[in-house]
Symmetry: C2
Amino acid sequence: MLPVAEAQAIILRHTALLPAVRLPLTTTALGLVLAEDVASDLDMPPYDKSMMDGYAVRCADLPTGQGGLQVIEEVTAGRTPTLEVGPGQATRIMTGAPVPVGADAVIPVERTHLLDGGQVRIDDRPPTPGKNILPQGREMRRGDSVLSAGTRLGPAAFGILATVGRTEALLQPRPGVAILSTGDEVVEAGQTPGPGQIRNSNGPMLAAQVARAGGEPRALGIGRDRVEDLRRLITEGLREPVLILSGGVSAGKLDLVPGVLQELGVQAHFHKVEMKPGKPMFFGTVATGPRPTATLVFGLPGNPVSSLVCFELFVRPALRRLQGREPGPRFVALPLAEDFPYSTDRPTYYPARLEPGSVGWSVRPLPWFGSADLRALAPANALVLFPAGEHQHRAGERFPVLRTGG
Amino acid sequence: MLPVAEAQAIILRHTALLPAVRLPLTTTALGLVLAEDVASDLDMPPYDKSMMDGYAVRCADLPTGQGGLQVIEEVTAGRTPTLEVGPGQATRIMTGAPVPVGADAVIPVERTHLLDGGQVRIDDRPPTPGKNILPQGREMRRGDSVLSAGTRLGPAAFGILATVGRTEALLQPRPGVAILSTGDEVVEAGQTPGPGQIRNSNGPMLAAQVARAGGEPRALGIGRDRVEDLRRLITEGLREPVLILSGGVSAGKLDLVPGVLQELGVQAHFHKVEMKPGKPMFFGTVATGPRPTATLVFGLPGNPVSSLVCFELFVRPALRRLQGREPGPRFVALPLAEDFPYSTDRPTYYPARLEPGSVGWSVRPLPWFGSADLRALAPANALVLFPAGEHQHRAGERFPVLRTGG
């Protein structure tokens, strides 16, 4: 059977960046990757800027830090000075305002005392040139590259883009992900299942996983076990960059999906992966429509826990790469929070919880009775990978851990 | 000056849960906290369920695991068995289908060979009762509590809620957060600043931070330095559970905001916090409108880096508590990735990057020239807290680290 790492490598070999799109910088763009280098259209600050409310002065006038000066002007924020500060003079200035010509330091207002007759008394340590002034262009110069292609947009990047006048940018868009649940036994969550039926829990769960991985889920509903029905829905799903099929890809007698996929030109790359939970897991690709990249087709196991884990290990990395992000999955070796004897016949991804401690994070496996136990996963925010075999794992021993985000 | 921890405690003392709301379980509900206990309306599985494609058999017929049986029926998914399996008989069954009365194990199809005349030949190890069958109610029983109030909805919870027939739930809603930038020197990102003007970078940055903390940002635009203008906009902002004022709350001569806040009944709790970057940081509350909880008013420094850090330390915990989440901020002690000599006069939150390694995470401070340097924060995904004083911090030494999510 195919090891997990090889399956992941096959998927990423078939996964390329989606074409970049110009998008407005609203909060829906949060987390997207920039597809262009962005240069500044101005110096920041655009002038020598006061970093304090106070008085712009000449250091030469205040060798001891003490003295009386004549106030010649008041510059509020948004205004510009009109007068040069000469010897024995000062200008009242606000935080963020331009420093007038002639002045070379700003004394904070708390160190001053306004006297009658437009005089101000300074009582500070001796100022040095540049004190409390941010020089023009210190943050960025006009023409400087301020953000590079490949940067993922967080709040700071939003601030930087606004600083240089951007309200939109060339970004890697969210991939549309069609989700098709299959099987005559499946009914939607809003319905009461009849005999032999169960509700579609994987559809809403996969939509949530897709959204969390940065994709845009498009639910296609439930495909019945009829070739025409499946052909129509799968054709619709193949218009998106990614199609996820939930259930219906194992070797069961009425599993019609593999035949329909083949008929529609989907090339199968693998069917099974050596892991637990999971194992039956289909990956295929097909060149469709006008897109330069192939549509990726994932067939996930119908079992909810297997579906959840296979998504994290195989679909999420593909969605990340489509968006220009480092694909992962990135495992970090963390110590077990407690002894954990465990036997398994295949490498097993076990639901767990990360716990912060005084010496960093540790990982605690959660009570879990196996692949049917979806309830165990509600409090989980990680998967810990245990090797095949019979083991007495000890508290403090390190195992590879994948954050799933809870 | 007020230490950070005391300021945080004051904020949380004034912050209560928002009233719960019934919301549809679309992906916009992802990450919200459940405000009700949810019980199952059915047994799961609703019947003894086959976990394999194969044949439902009686263990008593196969003491050696080998033998020939008469196939009496075929049960596909979504159908129910109509015949009881008697001695020497078997029923063809699909994964997920109900196990017929009389059978007590399922033999995988790979271990069988269909013969002429409706006979099947079994070639397996001796089955034990219950083999490859998930008993009715093993995952959950009708009436079982499957999710408790307080659970944060991730993908697994979406799956569980769909399993028990929920398409909506009582949830802690996202708090609306009004954002008002102030100052005559500020123009919107789409405009070209005139002399003495700068673009509004804090507005888009704060909106991104609010969205990331689970809130719903409502930009009120830019308030000019005129009392009537500020009164109108602040009154509008106080209709939301949270109002953020960016700039305009320090002691500058034209900082009119404090007066307007007082006039509108906002009770001030603090103005300054002992930290870097930051320091001027206002928090107040006012009982407004029909809401049971007070509106929280945060006045953040105009400096972009100070604003970003103050949001993470003070606003984010409040937004989390309003949503029923553990407020944080949760610092974890992580080792420095490299030597880092650093002197500072106040406890300093330094932009940094978390790096995964073979022995867990370490933290690397980023090049940063101080509070005007927003560009340094674009690649940051954490803040590391360095103590006041002159220090030669060493690689491997542990410091408190706050993840900011990049």
